[in-house]
Symmetry: C2
């Protein structure tokens, strides 16, 4: 029963789709690139990178995750008011990827079944799906979803639901430093009232500035990345978004911080954007260092690793180096590691087996927590989303009671069933020169061919 | 004063930016293409097509319209919570066009001034900006805009505002049938509570289906268009969206239709998507024919142009031909022409001097009504947005009292001040082979150069 249009809205369920193929970063791949496998595993944190087969792209992955979400929730197409898709792997410059996705879904549900569902493609590097999530949540909160139409008995009304899909293929030049962080996959989120997984708080902190840390000029298959600079932009933007979030959350009285406490004390888990697991660790170190520095508990840190250099006073290159050195020490401190292992690391589980899925990666983080039974009803968690170019958003939600009813093993099981490919097939698929699928599509959505006019022909292959 | 987060939200002001250059469709251009100028003027309805200069693209146009909107409303950057941009002329596959736009705006307002403004790029062919408008409106209605923070005196709260920008460059192959419908421009909409121009009704009818009527494969500069089929998709989708709108509006009790009446009787004006003015006329004919057919007033039509053939009964090709013939007769009937001239045609004024600006064209329609003083406070107007690929949305709003306070002559004046170019310059600019601007940028945002890595360097040129 819905009392008001402003009742809790958020993420009710999650489904994900990944390519069936993967390449290990630690074997033949590492040797071919002349990299110590252990360095890759530790330095990046990705052990297996998902590789799309010849018939897979961002549209087929999106359709697959959406179909799974609908099937496991017995959703009828008419109940779905929006399928909003975040991606930076669009397959056309004008046609929304969601129209292709709806075309594929209608192969299952029948022609015209999604005619009253609207779709649009959200592009903002890795933060696109977070904006889509905010849009769909606001649509439900505003009560514009047409929920008043189908009276479902006196005093009740059934609203429609929205689906947010994150779908991406992360592709960098062969041999480039970004290559070790590739991946592909799609996450579909069911957004509704009284959600089981996460009721979103009405506060989002944001930070935006114009940067060239990572981009992909029109028509290029691979991204242009200044990796080190992009990490700096990520940390600065996340810091800005968190400050914005904190100010708003405190101003609204949503969270009250006691003497000696800090906001993250009120967040059971924090999911940072995960281009690769190690980056989430960097983000966590930057985050906790800044939060704890003014607090009594900072003494514990300084007792273990020494006093923090007054970087701002030293200034210049030397100050920056001292600060970075201290950051490294901080990231090995017992105090930090305890907080990281407990609050942040569990969210990186699936990413370490899939690689970067760009805008969906923080939602894979949520799926990782679900899979490990770490979402405790009533607990508040924080999410920090980052998109190059650049912008960040920090938001939070409270885990729903209904989370207990959700099945947990689906995603991990599927990842175990994948097939490993060798370097040669990987490189052919990467370049787009392998036309035949490694595993011919069966019982799934597939890109069948690209017409002479460039139109993409998809179908459900039996 | 804001009583509740659900109070009226909508379009408070409009600003537009166009290239300074145009080419007449009726002179040298028509001769070179071997077309009767009068046929172009009547058949398409575009007399002048805006042509972007070498330093202009969708990002510079978006920044220009946004800056004008901010300046004429004395907006401070901190008041702007969102700049959501609809476009199918994105300048990067990953980086959101809005980050470039914010970079340009910060040349005026100072570095970091937009740091708490979020931006995302909405891609859905010509309907992208309409989805952006819905998103920003729902964000305000949901009360998630952080408006509670800066108390502005007892009992008052000042919310932030959102800006929706539509920006596009419509480009077709030289010599193709689409070439006569090109254009370029940007419209920026100020979205806030208690808006002066249009308070949006809480109902939107939508229609979506997977089509290949118009698309632009990744990396192609020009769209692939099946013009005739796209027109059919437009009409079918608009019909679907209007049915959806009507059902919801009646169910909510938003509009009540009396005996012998129809919904459009309650719409003072109707703005259809305007790829070219004649298409809006086709849309209107299809729309009124379907609405009036079951009503007593249909007798008047039949008295003038004869009884409508029972197309569905005749069936097949013959039925379709008969129906199309009757449509042509209907579109010349006094009853239709009176309704079209009064309710629809005025919205096409600016488009006839600019050409197709894709997703902004229905908002140029709104600007056209404003410029002609046809927005009457208290009157409800309807808007039908269409995006190829394909989807349509039909929605409505009520003109605000504040509309009287808005200046009306800015856009028309600016269009008069443009410079006509010849066929040769037009073709060089179209191909992207002319590197030097025809009119060097002065006092405006400009694309200065594209770096070797493909990054686009913009600046405010003094």
């Amino acid at each position: 029963m819905i009392d008001s249009p402003n009742s809790a809205v958020g993420i009710d369920d999650i489904a994900a789709a990944f390519p069936k193929l993967f390449i290990s970063t630690t074997g033949e791949f590492a040797r071919a690139r002349g990299i110590e496998p252990a360095k890759l595993a530790r330095g990046i944190g990705v052990e297996k990178m998902a590789v799309p087969d010849a018939h897979e792209d961002a549209a087929t992955l999106a359709a697959a995750s959406t179909l799974e979400l609908m099937e496991k929730n017995d959703l009828r197409p008419a109940e779905v008011g929006k399928i909003y898709i975040g991606t930076e792997s669009g397959v056309d410059e004008a046609k929304a990827i969601g129209t292709y996705v709806i075309g594929m879904l209608e192969r299952v549900y029948g022609p015209g079944t999604f005619s009253e569902c609207s779709t649009v493609e959200f592009k903002a590097a890795c933060i696109g799906a977070t904006h889509a999530l905010e849009s769909v949540a606001c649509w439900l909160k505003a009560g514009d979803d047409g929920g008043g139409e189908d009276a479902d008995g006196p005093g009740r009304r059934r609203g429609r639901v929205g689906i947010v899909v994150a779908t991406d293929v992360a592709r960098y030049e062969l041999g480039s430093p970004g290559e070790y962080t590739q991946g592909a996959g799609s996450v579909a989120l069911l957004i509704k009232r009284n959600p089981r997984i996460l009721a979103l708080d009405p506060v989002m902190g944001v930070y935006t500035r114009d940067e060239n840390d990572f981009f992909r000029p029109v028509g290029m298959r691979c991204a242009v990345v200044n990796g080190k600079y992009s990490n700096q932009c990520y940390l600065a933007a996340m810091d800005g978004a968190f400050s914005s979030f904190q100010r708003r959350a405190l101003s609204r009285g949503m969270i009250r911080i006691g003497e000696g406490g800090c906001l993250s004390d009120h967040l059971r888990q924090i999911i940072f954007h995960i281009p690769y697991p190690r980056m989430a660790e960097y983000a966590a170190a930057s985050f906790f260092r800044r939060e704890w520095r003014p607090l009594p508990r900072w003494q514990e840190v300084e007792e273990e690793i020494g006093a923090e250099p007054a970087a701002e006073e030293v200034g210049g290159e030397e100050g920056a180096k001292e600060s970075a050195d201290y950051q490294r020490r901080f990231s090995k401190s017992a105090k930090f590691l305890e907080a990281y292992e407990r609050k942040v690391k569990p969210s990186t589980l699936i990413s370490s087996a899939v690689g970067n899925i760009y805008t969906g990666s923080i939602y894979l983080g949520l799926a990782s927590l679900l899979a490990q039974d770490l979402l405790t009803p009533g607990a508040r968690i924080g999410l920090g989303s980052y998109g190059s170019g650049c912008s960040a958003a920090f938001f939070s939600g409270v885990v729903g009671e209904g989370v207990r009813s959700l099945a947990r093993d689906r995603i991990l099981k599927r990842l175990e069933d994948r097939v490993e490919i060798g370097l040669k097939d990987y490189q052919l698929l990467h370049d787009g020169t392998r036309q035949e699928s490694v595993i011919p599509p069966a019982g799934e959505f597939a890109l069948l061919r690209i017409g002479g006019d460039g139109y993409r022909h998809y179908d459900l292959v039996g």
